[in-house]
């Protein structure tokens, strides 16, 4: 009995000493900041930062903290803490959100039977819609969003701006380029994507922009210019007075902030 205890005990002591020595001697040197930064990253591995995923990005961040802005998904608090950890100062700015530049309503040319994706439905000829640029509404963007921020209402995708982190995966998924990222504080947005002249748009869709320039004339501060048959808004000049929105007969322009702006997120 005593013998066994002695043998096993001494063996245990020998190996544990060995392990302790080995673990000290052959320890892998790792920057502990990598792990702590990684914990602050969102963990969606969306790839929008340009790296393979959050693990890769954390390693890159420790080497070059100026990349912090590349992650578009971090919450304001996490971003500030990560900045403190990496020793850089985090500026206050707005981030981007996805904006669907189509209100729907284009005439449908034919029934699409088969693979129910926007990409497939836009492959035959110029697609199922009379408007070559409009939203097809089969939800390629919905499937691309890692945050569940887009849902289809009827045939139009609607972005939940609280969930949207502006990663841009939906922008790439849309075969027609209907979705664009806009600054989260954009005051007036455009709900049409067709650069065709008014006559063509009017024939295809009741909701499309016909480039009538009423908005351009209505704007008191000269923030709107029609380019390529679509209004382009200089958000820095816009006072969100709503004159253009009122002037637009086809409801292409929408005022996003009838109520006072919320406080900006940190970036």
């Amino acid at each position: 009995m005593i013998e066994e205890i002695a043998v096993l005990g001494s063996l245990g002591f020998f190996f544990s000493t060995l392990l302790v020595v080995m673990s000290k001697r052959f320890a892998v040197q790792m920057d502990e900041r990598v792990e702590r930064v990684r914990e602050l990253l969102p963990g969606a591995s969306c790839g929008a930062c340009g790296f393979g995923g959050c693990d890769d990005f954390a390693e890159a961040l420790v080497k070059d903290p100026s990349l912090l802005g590349n992650c578009r998904l971090m919450g304001a608090d996490e971003r500030r803490r990560a900045g403190a950890l990496l020793g850089i100062e985090v500026k206050e700015t707005w981030w981007m959100v996805a904006n669907v530049r189509c209100a729907g309503g284009s005439k449908v040319l034919f029934d699409w039977v088969g693979e129910k994706t926007c990409s497939a439905a836009s492959s035959l000829g110029e697609g199922v819609l009379a408007c070559k640029y409009g939203c097809i509404g089969l939800g390629d963007c919905v499937r691309a969003c890692p945050f569940g921020a887009i849902e289809l209402r009827g045939n139009t995708p609607v972005v939940d701006e609280d969930k949207c982190r502006g990663c841009g995966l939906c922008v790439n998924a849309c075969p027609r380029g209907v979705i664009k990222l806009i600054p989260k504080d954009a005051k007036v947005i455009i709900r049409c994507n067709s650069p065709e002249p008014g006559k063509v748009v009017a024939a295809a869709c009741p909701n499309g922009c016909i480039a009538c320039k009423l908005c351009e004339k209505a704007c008191q501060v000269g923030a709107i210019k029609i380019e390529n048959n679509l209004p382009v808004i200089d958000q820095s000049l816009c006072t969100s007075c709503g004159a253009c929105v009122e002037a637009c007969k086809r409801k292409v322009l929408v005022l996003r902030f009838p109520k006072p702006l919320a406080t900006p997120h940190a970036s």
């Binding site: 040319l109 034919f110 039977v113 088969g114 693979e115 994706t117 990409s119 497939a120 492959s123 035959l124 000829g125 110029e126």
Partner: protein, 432 residues
Amino acid sequence: MLMKRGFRGGVHPLPNKLTSDKKIEKAKLPSRVVIPLRQHIGAPCDPVVEKGAKVKVGQKIGDSPAAVSAPVHSTISGTVSEISTQLLPTGDRVPAIVIEADDGDEWIETKGLDPEKASREEMISKIRECGLVGMGGAGFPTHVKLNPPKEKRIDTLIINGAECEPYITADHRLMLEEGEKIIEGAKIIAKILGVDNILIGIEDNKPDAIDNMDRLGGESVRVVPLKTRYPQGDERHLIKAILGREVPAGGLPFDVGVVVQNVGTTKAIYEAVTQGIPLVERVVTITGDVKESKNLLVRIGTLFSSLIQECGGPVGNTRKVIAGGPMMGFAQYVDVPVVKTTNCILVFSEERVREEEESPCIRCGRCIEVCPMGLMPTMLVKFTRAKKPEMCLEYNIMSCDECGCCAYVCPSKIPIVHVIREGKKAVRRLKK
């Protein structure tokens, strides 16, 4: 008796060849034709006539300096009323010349060559001038096909009379009624290519055509009966079935010393070379849910609607109008013109069209069994939907011919060909 040959995979859909004993009739002359300036693979033509110009039948109205292209000709005599963008049966929008007919049917003067005396170059340029393209479906310019690169030695000419798609009988009727012209045309092609071995592949569901061509062909042109199996008419499978040679992935029949021509094209080559007649009309099978199915000799540019009316109009509520066969044809949503490659117009009523909801893949492997290219459609669908184009490439997605056998047999009704097309698009983006 010759041995019947086949290829790997394939399916055997109901033949439904309703018009195989209906003689080819001349269709009524259309009062208006829409002639697209691109009806072939390659560069579109530029118009060589202006709005308001008077044109005769066979007059060249569009041409292009590009190497891979074929001119287009007026198919009626009349006045050019507009040059505008029109829809092709394939869904593309291309510029087209619209001609309103006058009372007559005045042809331009045509002059043929004597195939015995004419040189190879003369015949090829005649074929180009007459605007010939492959009439089986793809529309590859014939003069390019007959002028293979110097380093490729061609030893065999195969005339494709397989016509494996259900419903279509245009080539079948041509072989019965214009067999002599096809044989003579084949001899002209053989002379151009400098080959002695001329074979005609015909599926064994057309015994009358096999007998007829066998009788007419004599010693010089041999008929090879083929097993009736879709897609026997795909040139790769035709070569495999007849000669046992396999066209390499991404390659062309040139690479194994073969040129394949469709019977319709062969007949057109005969007419172009010996009489100088441009490609202004072709045989189109109009069938499905119409009052009376017909094989019509149609002027190119005739609108589908007028041909359907000529067959007594649709029966029941039309759900689909398809240009081409039911397996690889294109469903139409507006009135489009017959082009050089339109071999069939199918009208399907609501009762005939089954549209079923897709259900999950049960991994039964039937698509793999039938794929004539030896691909694994089930994996291609999986990888495409998972957005993994690099894996699609590894599974040789680009070798897919989109014949549709996989989608035809799929018990879960997965639109496999649609998905594979998407996968190919993603692969092409990847390569950029």
